[in-house]
Subunit: 298 residues, 4 copies
């Protein structure tokens, strides 16, 4: 992958005839080589069972990877030249450059599995990102993180002064110019204004198959209900706890012989796999959000 | 399987030292050959994380298949001789005979997939049961069912006289000495007294991964929430809608491109597989219910 | 679905700059509304790990669903007008019409599960196809098939005269103008010339997770090897037994307590689900074959 | 778990009437509290479809966890007292003590994912084991391992002197009194005599769903064959490459858009999950091997 630099254009807009033709035509007109492209039309009516005309109120989603050196200009000019078409189509859009590493700040508490997993993927360049720092409300992983050459910030979150703690986290995140915040089993509820300020940038891993078992101690809830599968959900954080757009989910089979401890253990494996997949989709601009749902161009 | 007749003893009782030794000792004392056996101890405290003594309030579950011709007596005498030990251990227990086919009444509305699936399994003797009749609130499948040589009863369920309809269904079920009732996508809510009367005998397939999406139109609910997996749940019917003990569950992956129609279609495959597995566990006395949960000795 | 008529264009061609722009431009130029579209570029070098220029030897695959009444012409003219562009791009291509039902001939032996499953899907119009006839080397399902109003042909396949039997099957298939042949657990090896004649039209369900356990009695092979999952594979039939392009696969977990009988039973559920999914992909022109592999535009 | 000390008795023997009664009777006779127990009878004939008498050649498997302080003696005496019964039943057996940590030596090359994963589980005591040392044919992970306080041995394996290298590995393993060796993506083929010497103690993770894609570069093989799922297999190492008894397997779905790089990446997630589950089964004496297959008392 590393050797092939590309730009990723991801966008959504009201549906109409000719969108692909115009966007692909724009790219081809400049000699651009499309490496990968995905499109999706959403009829915009969730009671529609597929039989109605999509012309009214539908939304169109797209993602294209264009080989960088096939274009006669650089990123800034690409954006500038694309802007008029994007505006004409009323697009929400972005173009990113595979040569610019995303800057991911990890928040963690005292559970190690997601942190180890993310650092292993970073170490091997499977996740080709910058991790400018790790923030925690505990100092459990200070030396482990620092061994990796990554700064570690211990920001306690006292019950009587959460705003100050999150102001500090915001300051650290802004200071390092983070573009993504990963809650790697960070056991604090984020303030609503914090969620709003970084909307679309904060990714959480919830230890249940949402919408089952919202809130605290989902494995205990699952144990009590006697479910036969447990799961995990990677989602964007919004002010509504555990209600944000779902990016990725998965489950694993359990049975009556599994204790809550066993469920926690099985759950960790699902959590880290689901978080890693969801984070990757996000980092590669494969996730487009609309109406509290996600389109994932896997 | 057919050639090897066996008795199945399934039981639960308060946990104490020596249960297996006494029950297995009883069987061995009569020369009984145990083909298959399973045991489970439940600590009886769902907040217990495995560290406490199980002596207080635990419950013990067991299931044994004993080769019929290895015992020097028949079923009735087996039960008679086992009774004193069962009472001493305060057991809830049953002994069934593999040579006696279970009598399963199927209730269906207008969706064909579970009905076809069950009849195919019955036809091939994969499900080695009697189906004394099929009951429906529609006559859609009358000729299909009758082609199989199975009586079909059309019992409409008018909104203004549900009690009479369910009285008739009870009469039909009792008349054929049914021992299990399968709701194969039967789209009627059963009256509470009906549920109570046939407690532990009625199996439903719900078209969601419970406890997500209780109630009506779960695929519409799932579509709206944007989940990445959909599922189905086979459970015993109780007076609390969709709250009965869960027997079996499974899921299948979907994505943003799947319409509600697609989800319904994928869902059907999960529904029939989950119903068939759950029904088999029930028919083979592999399901023991306790505290609204199931032990499944798969 | 039924209410929305569309044309499906599926094609592959040597990769080059501007393919999407030209094809989507052609559609948009006639006012065509693209309901769904998928594209894939294959670098054409399976040792390539993603880093090489795709310009050399790559192949491009695409599929578009165009709303029929958005175009100012009918199918024949659509094809005629598209042909010059297709030739210029050296495409292998087809355009099909959702209003024309595919004609699927089912071949079956004595196992019922796939047959029941396909007929249930046909009955409910989940599979919106014609089944002009069912052909079998046994007469087991004659009356069941005929009850559905579908002609049934018993064509025995004597060991000493297979060519005549397959000549008769070819005659029946041609007579009804079949376009797809489904081997629904048809337990005969097809002659090489028969496979060649109907290349790309014959779909088989193999009862193992290929390439494991090629050939006869795969569940016995799986039992002996002690695998922990068993599977099924839906693939196109070629002259090389069990070596054709794979369309769909799935697996299910088993354990040491499962006998071969149990594996056969679990396997049936996977077989019918996998066959149904694979067949649907084929019927909706979602499968493009290249170099003994498939692109599936799910 | 930590607070509840128990002994684990695992055993297999020729099948006969009364085994459970005698073993459970022995335990109960000393006041032993059985926390968990599992039994399995194998008919011993893989062509048997369940209908034959199991009396001829069958083998019986069992595993019991007995609460340590419920017995009036310690481990050595438990073994001594159990020995006569074990001999009478011709058992292969062992009794282990949950208070004695297993000593697991990890062998690794240059891929980090399994190593990080195992150390994270060890760190959190999810895997409650000793890791007396890590051995590698490269020095890539020296400082990472040592940071954890675990000795690291760099043992190069020159092509022209493998015997000396493996003699050194054997010496290190024996010196630390290892009881399990984990090949955490250790990219060297072990000499036959080494496999024989530590038979049943060496666990490998193979990066394919065996028996598919034996040998080198399984993801390349899978890519070429066009499979729709890839997997991993945890197995005991024997002198026959990739042919040892399978402990655990799992798969993950891929599609045509996944490059070999993507497959490697997805595969890593399966590999570490499967290895961790398989290793746990082994460490908890849940695996009984017979005839190159495993019974897993999960």
């Amino acid at each position: 992958m590393a050797a092939k630099r590309f730009y990723t254009l991801s966008a959504s807009c009201p549906d109409q005839i000719g969108i692909i033709a115009r966007v692909a035509g724009f790219i081809a007109g400049h000699g651009g080589w499309i490496l990968e492209s995905s499109y999706h039309a959403d009829a915009g009516d969730d009671d529609d069972l597929g039989s109605k005309d999509t012309g009214s109120g539908g939304r169109y989603f797209m993602r294209m990877q264009v080989k960088a050196d096939s274009l006669p200009f650089h990123l800034a000019e690409f954006r500038e030249r694309f802007r008029p078409l994007a505006e004409e189509l009323s697009m929400i859009w972005r173009i990113s450059d595979s040569a610019v590493k995303r800057r991911v700040v990890i928040l963690v508490s005292t559970q190690e599995h997601c942190l180890y997993d993310l650092l292993a993927r970073w170490q091997s360049r499977e996740l080709d990102i910058e991790i400018p720092c790790v923030v925690s409300n505990h100092d459990t992983f200070k030396s482990f993180v620092e061994w990796h050459g990554i700064p570690f910030h211990h920001v306690p979150v006292p019950a009587d002064n959460k705003p100050a703690a999150f102001a500090e986290i915001a300051r650290l995140y802004d200071e390092v110019r983070g573009d993504t915040m990963v809650l790697a089993r960070y056991m604090q509820i984020l303030p609503a204004d914090f969620c709003a300020r970084y909307s679309g940038e904060i990714i959480n891993i919830h230890h249940s198959f949402l919408p089952s078992f919202v809130g605290a101690r989902p494995y205990h809830q699952a144990y009590r209900r006697g479910v036969k599968l447990i799961g995990a959900t990677c989602h964007y954080v919004t002010a509504d706890l555990d209600q944000g757009p779902i990016i990725e989910q998965d489950v694993i089979r359990i049975d009556h012989s599994d204790s809550i401890d066993d469920m926690v253990r099985y759950g960790k494996d699902i959590e880290k796999a689901v978080l890693a997949r969801g984070l990757r989709y996000h980092l590669e601009d494969r996730v487009l959000v609309h109406a509290n749902k996600t389109v994932i161009f896997r």
